[in-house]
């Protein structure tokens, strides 16, 4: 019912996400709301999140694509740019959003953020501090959290 006016662009993007998923990323719309996606991102190899399966949720607001999708992690993750509620600090989700970007590019950027944490633009102050003062130990904690919370159960 709420989906009858779904813009063509969203339909196209959804079809492509389902037919040609990006490696390590899956996104499928929820049955009762085609603007609400269940997302899984695999922790990139060579990152502290390797081996982890991270659940996220994504919502396309009414203004999309003039406004960015809303995305957050549902799986707990130790990362300087992600807070306790799974909110993500990423420029393209805020002021750097452009309608030329897509759901796919957003998810690829999040995957890239897992490979390259940026403690200089933190969302979680404590984690960023940990990262800057003792990166080896912070990475160990991130690996530990990946084992504990993202083992794909």
């Amino acid at each position: 019912m709420a989906n009858s006016n779904l813009p063509r662009r969203i339909i196209k993007e959804t079809q492509r996400l389902l037919s040609e998923p990006a490696p390590g990323i899956s996104a499928s719309p929820s049955e009762d709301n085609m603007r609400y996606f269940n997302v899984m991102i695999l922790g990139p190899t060579q990152s502290p999140y390797e081996g982890g399966v991270f659940k996220l949720e994504l919502f396309l607001p009414e203004e999309y694509p003039m406004a960015a999708p809303k995305v957050r992690f549902l799986t707990k993750i130790y990362h300087p740019n992600i807070d306790k509620l799974g909110r993500i600090c990423l420029d393209i989700l805020k002021d750097k959003w452009s309608p030329a970007l897509q759901i796919r590019t957003v998810l690829l950027s999040i995957q890239a953020l897992l490979s390259a944490p940026n403690p200089d633009d933190p969302l979680s102050e404590n984690i960023a501090k940990h990262w800057k003062t003792n990166e080896t130990e912070a990475v160990e904690t991130a690996k530990e959290w990946t084992r504990l919370y993202a083992s794909g159960a």
């Binding site: 709420a2 006016n5 929820s30 709301n33 603007r35 609400y36 949720e57 919502f59 607001p61 009414e62 809303k70 957050r72 549902l74 707990k76 306790k84 509620l85 799974g86 909110r87």
Partner: protein, 145 residues
């Protein structure tokens, strides 16, 4: 078109959280999340400062709001933590009773926790409530859970 796009529960609660953090209007109603680690954002504490021209004037009332998985399709459960004598509030538990509080009885998904608190503040100033005898400030309802 307007209003036909339903913001899913979690994103709706994140919006409410951010609005609550910025501060609302004149500050006489406010709310925040109880457990910053709860990814599902279920438990909230609301605060109402009693309105002028009522026995509640200047008093600070704390409430507990619980947003279950079916929020905002269904209203949150709401109960006063601070003891209060109001027609819509259960005298023993502090629970705001839907059958005596229209906003909960006729709930619509557009309503927010802010709307509930604002409406309860209006209730306090309503003719049938504003002169009700109150216990001294600072007494709490007994918590059963």
């Amino acid at each position: 078109m307007f209003g036909c796009i339903a913001v899913p529960r979690n994103f709706r609660l994140l919006e409410e959280l951010e609005r609550g953090e910025k501060g609302i209007g004149d500050g006489t109603v406010s709310y925040g999340m109880d457990d910053g680690d709860d990814i599902y954002m279920r438990s909230w504490t609301g605060t109402i400062i009693g309105p002028h021209n009522s026995v509640h004037e200047g008093r600070i009332y704390q409430l507990k709001l619980f947003c279950d998985k079916d929020y905002p399709e269904k209203p949150p459960s709401v109960r006063f933590h601070s003891r209060i004598n109001l027609t819509c509030v259960n005298h023993e538990t502090g629970v705001v009773e839907a059958k005596k509080f229209g906003m909960l009885a006729n709930w619509q998904r557009e309503y927010t926790m802010e709307d509930i608190l604002t409406q309860l503040k209006k209730e306090m100033a309503a003719p049938y409530n504003r002169k009700l005898v109150q216990l001294p400030e600072g007494i709490l309802f007994v918590e059963w859970d």
